[in-house]
């Protein structure tokens, strides 16, 4: 199995690369700066999670149509944090088009303390498959995905919202062979690595 990690030039891929190697020991890992090249050889395409939406969208723009086509046709894809946000239409964070694979926007979270930085439990949706649910996962983000159809959400997380309300956002989404998580499994210790492997296998099956 060949796993291609897209290097969008927006951050450090070190940890995610190491985490994928541990979580998917059977995989051969490639780091590709060219999405076209990644598409040519990948059984699983991984969209990494550091940086700003606009910068990453700009890097993807020349390949947007071919990526959309390949992922819509069933190529398994896994997005982490910003990588998951890129599966949606657009973001409050800045201009640029997402891949538009999952209808919905990325919106600024409503919370008195942002970024949401730290460990937060997952709340699996009733429809979620059996996954190795960790006690908590590590987040570092100020924006959250708002899918039009909430049936794509496999798990939620909640933080303190405005005026004592709670702010719930999508933690894991899945649409066909595209899966994404808002948290950083590669920063969520051993339980995070186990979940990372399980998320990848969900779409590889």
């Amino acid at each position: 199995m060949r796993v291609a990690l897209l290097d969008l030039g927006v951050g450090n891929l070190h940890s995610l690369e190491k985490a994928l190697a541990l979580a998917l020991p059977e995989a051969t890992l490639y780091v590709d700066t060219d999405p076209a090249q990644a598409l040519a050889h990948a059984d699983l395409l991984v969209f990494p999670g550091v940086g700003a939406f606009s910068g990453a969208a700009e890097r993807l723009a020349p390949h947007r149509q071919e990526l959309r086509r390949a992922l819509s046709a069933g190529l398994p894809a896994l997005g982490v944090c910003l990588g998951m946000q890129l599966f949606f239409d657009a973001s409050d964070e800045g201009p640029g088009e997402g891949l538009g694979l999952i209808p919905g926007r990325v919106e600024r979270l409503a919370s008195p303390r942002l970024p949401h930085m730290g460990w937060t439990p997952l709340e699996p949706a009733a429809s979620a498959p059996p996954l190795p649910w960790p006690e908590a996962v590590y987040y570092a983000h100020s924006f959250g995905c708002r899918p039009v159809d909430e049936r794509v959400v496999l798990a939620w997380s909640s933080i303190e919202g405005q005026g004592g309300a709670r702010e719930r956002f999508a933690a894991i989404v899945r649409h066909e062979n595209t899966i994404g998580c808002q948290f950083h499994p590669e920063k969520s210790s051993q339980q995070g690595l186990a979940l990372l492997g399980a998320l990848a296998r969900e779409v590889l099956r």
């Binding site: 951050g11 450090n12 070190h14 940890s15 190491k18 985490a19 550091v50 940086g51 700003a52 008195p112 303390r113 942002l114 970024p115 949401h116 930085m117 730290g118 460990w119 937060t120 439990p121 709340e123 006690e135 908590a136 590590y138 987040y139 570092a140 983000h141 100020s142 997380s157 909640s158 933080i159 303190e160 709670r166 950083h184 590669e186 920063k187 969520s188 210790s189 051993q190 339980q191 995070g192 690595l193």
Partner: protein, 261 residues
């Protein structure tokens, strides 16, 4: 209803690639290797690791990047690098080496625009404003009664700690690492009034630092000081308490924490 858990952050002072003073871990061969210690603390349940570079030379700093690189290969909790970060290029080098966040202290005092530049380029979530504060009588210049100091407390600045935290966040810091110089190493508990004044004034997470001497000291930093996280060093390095001891004390005090490493 679930919510964000509170964090226990373990800090290691690193001097030219070695942990200063060493750490007492059972059956540990090398008490001074930051890479091995960071891994140990992850397994012990630390929610984050901070490496504070205390070497005063350029050579020490390049050694630090190598340490970060080797740590990032094996560590699967967030890593913050602090000490000697003076420019956007330094921030980039630290992040490229594998740090998730970078702590900026005296360089931000000298040039506050550095916070905005780093934040615009790499995102607020990786820019930590590190503030060292010292108590004094409140005055017109220092209304909170906490003055920002640099160089381990030796150099006073003209800044009020609370006002500086607010300005730092406005300029782009995504987290405040707040150290009480009066409490640092004293092991008498965190400076709660300082922690609370800053945490209530800013809309980003605050990590309380300085003063932890026993497990019971952590919960007040969060419940009374309104911190998101508590940083510890000596009390775990000396082998007096484990991270699990600290987490247990927090949980018993009603603070939600991650219990399984």
């Amino acid at each position: 209803m679930t919510a964000a858990l509170r964090r226990v952050v373990v800090c290691l002072d690193v001097d030219r690639g070695r942990v200063k003073k060493g750490v007492r871990f059972e059956a540990l061969r090398d008490v001074g290797d930051p890479v091995e210690l960071a891994q140990r603390y992850e397994r012990a349940g630390a929610d984050e690791i901070v490496f504070l570079d205390v070497s005063a030379s350029a050579e020490g700093r390049s050694t630090m990047l190598d340490v970060a690189r080797r740590t990032a290969e094996v560590l699967f909790v967030p890593l913050t690098l602090g000490g000697g970060i003076a420019s956007v290029d330094d921030v980039e080098r630290a992040l490229r080496a594998g740090a998730d966040k970078v702590g900026i202290n005296s360089a931000a005092v000298r040039d506050p625009a550095l916070l905005g530049a780093a934040s615009a380029r790499f995102g607020a979530q990786c820019v930590v404003l590190s503030i060292d504060a010292k108590r004094e009588a409140p005055s017109e210049a220092i209304p909170s009664g906490y003055r920002v100091v640099t160089h381990g407390g030796r150099t006073p600045t003209e800044l009020d700690a609370v006002a500086w935290a607010v300005e730092g966040v406005r300029r782009g810091a995504g987290e405040i690492l707040l150290t009480s110089i009066d409490r640092d190493g004293a092991r008498t508990g965190y400076e709660l009034a300082l922690t609370r004044a800053v945490a209530d004034a800013v809309g980003v997470p605050v990590v309380a630092s300085g003063g932890a001497g026993e497990p019971a000291h952590l919960a007040p930093a969060i419940l009374e000081g309104h911190a998101d996280a508590a940083l510890v060093a000596g009390i775990v390095h000396d082998g007096l308490y484990t991270v699990a001891d600290l987490k247990r004390a927090l949980a018993e005090a009603g603070v939600p924490v991650r219990r399984t490493p």
